[in-house]
């Protein structure tokens, strides 16, 4: 995998939000690569910059956000330099995104079939005659039972899991090469969550898509991702294969995050929360934004800039004093 070039290549990306109460440094020096055929998880607490990274990659960053440094290349396309017309074609055909709370992402007053049809129509993948047929075909790929009848259903008539399937159908209608799933199963039942994640995994494998899974659930990332990127307060702190990361986390934050996640059996004493909260991203920040919560913090952490160390092949950690 690593000998080909990555489909999504984010290099040294920094993003700031200008707000009334100051400049929020939401992302700083974020680099990540996603290759075809792999599922990459981005994990971290809320506010760690997971979604901002994804939105920037899709070219749909909020107008208050400004990219101050870095580059994003998606299949050779310079996302930050491209015009809106190019990006509109890119979104859907090359990259697609699904969001959390599918019910609010769908238009409540149009049938789901028509909404999927809009995507096909916009990208000239279907004409009037075969639109319905193509939409039903895409409903079938996301395993919606009785697709012919569901074409005419409104979002409120469908369950949450079913709505998320519609979102996936919509995202994949034009066979993109990259799928970004932002917390796709938040608010769904555990059985539905498993079914949706199985579906995303199977479709990515079938289509050899690059898939980015944004989640705060480490256990879920471990189950479905080939590689995991851990973010904290706008920094990438660690990245590596799921196996490496779970068997030997090297960044103190990753280790703490794992310790805070309840997993099957065990004892309540075995889990520990992470003290403190995310630092205020508006002020002057230390080179390592985890230093305020870190037990291994020493003088060197405040004096030297963050460096990415390759602790084992393809396992990177941004820490002065890794575990």
């Amino acid at each position: 995998m690593s000998n080909t070039f990555p489909l999504l290549d984010i290099k040294n990306l920094s993003v700031e939000f200008r707000t009334r109460s100051g400049v929020v440094k939401a992302l700083e020096d974020v680099s990540l690569e996603v290759f075809r055929g792999e599922i990459v998880g981005i994990v971290g607490e809320s506010g760690s910059g997971k979604s901002v990274s994804a939105l920037t990659a899709m070219g749909i960053l909020d107008p208050a956000g400004h990219v101050t440094a870095g580059s994003i290349s998606l299949g050779g396309l310079d996302v930050l330099g491209a015009g809106e017309a190019v990006l509109q074609t890119m979104r859907g055909q090359q990259a697609s995104m699904i969001f959390q709370s599918p019910r609010t992402s769908l238009n409540p007053i149009r049938t789901v079939g028509k909404q999927i049809g809009d995507v096909l129509h916009r990208h000239n993948m279907a004409d009037r005659q075969n639109l319905r047929e193509k939409v039903i075909k895409s409903l079938k790929t996301v395993r919606i039972p009785d697709p012919d009848r569901r074409f005419d259903a409104y979002p409120f008539e469908l369950s949450g899991g079913m709505c998320q399937r519609i979102m996936i159908a919509m995202a994949l209608a034009c066979s993109p090469e990259l799928l970004i799933a932002d917390e796709p199963t938040t608010g769904l039942d555990v059985t539905t969550q498993a079914a949706i994640m199985d579906l995303i995994r199977d479709l990515s494998r079938e289509r050899n898509m690059a898939t980015v899974l944004i989640t705060h659930d480490l256990a879920m990332a471990a189950d479905y991702c080939d590689r995991i990127i851990v973010m904290h307060a706008g920094h990438v702190v660690e990245s590596g294969s799921s196996h490496d990361l779970f068997t030997s986390p090297r960044h103190p934050y990753t280790a703490k995050l794992m310790k805070a996640t309840p997993h099957g059996g065990g004892n309540l004493d075995d889990i520990a929360s992470i003290p403190g909260g995310l630092p205020d991203l508006r002020g002057v920040l230390p080179p390592c934004r985890f230093s305020g919560r870190c037990e291994r913090h020493e003088a060197i952490c405040d004096s030297s800039a963050m460096i990415s160390k390759e602790v084992s092949p393809n396992h990177f950690v941004n820490c002065q004093r890794p575990l």
């Binding site: 949450g160 555990v190 099957g264």
Partner: protein, 343 residues
């Protein structure tokens, strides 16, 4: 252990096609939502004959997917809504016969409290943390002297590790973890005997979840409370609960000690549920995935298993006769014709 809460054959039915919605639109809604809705839609069986007991000092977990009747059941137990039939006994007294609207006048109101889901939504945005915690003390304990009230609120805040300087703040000035503490403080202010916790940690970041869970365990010991713990997060239920009941479409399908439910599930639905927990996902877990949607809770066939159609063990018998109770031990049972055979 003596029983604190005894629930016997509790039912909640809703008739459909009332005011506001024309019959036709509701029927079509239900048809789309559930695969097998019958033609003459009449009665929705939200909770359908539920029996269980919570002992003193015990924590009982309640799990099941959305729409299975968890919240309806919780509403009835907390005496916020009336049941259709059945009885609820609390410390020996039948509280199910008291109308929900009158329940606030009963002495049991202060002994049976609930922590609502999502502290961001359930705290009154115009109440400071102090007001929120003081409200039950004012209304139910009749504390009126300012000094007494302040002393009691501060004692409760200390109990939940809420810094006293935060008491003057409004919900929007508090973090998620702090709001969760206020929410818990309000519920324990009257030292209840039974605390119903409806998804207490689902809105919290994983980094603060652990402290809140530990707080709940500590409070339970300090105050000698019993818990009814409703949660989607099965890993959390496993950590906190002594026993677990599993609901499916208004009925209890399995009940047993927490460890047994997770390691030796009897009901095929419980197996599907536990094998879907993230982190347990081995490749063979996908064999237990559920297909399709649940059956309709509207006029269900009384002589059929409600899990039929999604159940890998299902056979013709399951739609001919209601499933019997199968016990693997004195405290572990499932309602199923073909329970999972332990390996």
């Amino acid at each position: 252990m003596s029983a604190l809460l005894e629930v016997f054959d509790l039912k909640k039915y809703y008739t459909l096609g009332g005011k506001g919605l024309s019959d036709g639109s509701l029927v079509s809604w239900i048809r789309n939502r559930f695969t097998n809705a019958p033609k003459d839609t009449q009665v929705l069986h939200a909770v359908d004959g539920v029996n269980f007991v919570i002992s003193k000092g015990e924590s009982l977990g309640l799990v099941g997917e959305s729409g299975c009747g968890k919240s309806t059941l919780v509403g009835m137990l907390a005496r916020l809504s009336d049941s259709t039939s059945g009885s609820i006994k609390f410390a020996g007294k039948d509280i199910g016969s008291v109308r929900a609207k009158q329940f606030h006048a009963e002495p049991e109101r202060s002994e049976l409290q609930i922590v609502f889901q999502d502290p961001h939504e359930s705290l009154n945005p115009r109440f400071t943390a102090f007001d929120t915690i003081a409200e039950p003390l004012r209304r139910l304990a009749g504390l009126s002297s300012k000094a007494e009230l302040r002393a009691r609120v501060e004692a409760v805040a200390t109990q939940v590790d809420l810094p006293l300087q935060l008491l003057g703040r409004f919900p929007h000035q508090l973090s998620g973890g702090q709001k969760a503490r206020v929410n818990i403080a309000r519920a324990i202010a009257l030292s209840p005997k039974l605390l119903i916790l409806d998804e207490p940690t689902s809105a919290l970041d994983v980094s603060v979840q652990a402290v809140i869970l530990k707080l709940l365990v500590r409070l339970k010991q300090e105050l000698g409370m019993s818990y009814l713990f409703v949660s989607h997060d099965l890993n959390v239920v496993r950590l906190l609960c002594d026993r677990v009941i599993v609901m499916y479409l208004g009925q209890i399908v399995e009940e047993g000690p927490a460890e047994d439910i997770f390691t030796k599930p009897l009901h095929p639905y419980t197996r599907a549920l536990t094998s879907a927990i993230p982190g347990h996902n081995k490749e063979d877990a996908s064999a237990f995935r559920l297909e399709g949607d649940p059956l309709s809770p509207v006029d269900p066939n009384p002589n059929a298993c409600r899990f039929y159609g999604r159940c890998p063990n299902g056979s013709e018998l399951c739609i001919k006769a209601a499933p019997p109770k199968f016990s693997s031990s004195s405290d572990h049972y499932a309602v199923c014709h073909f329970p999972v055979q332990p390996h």
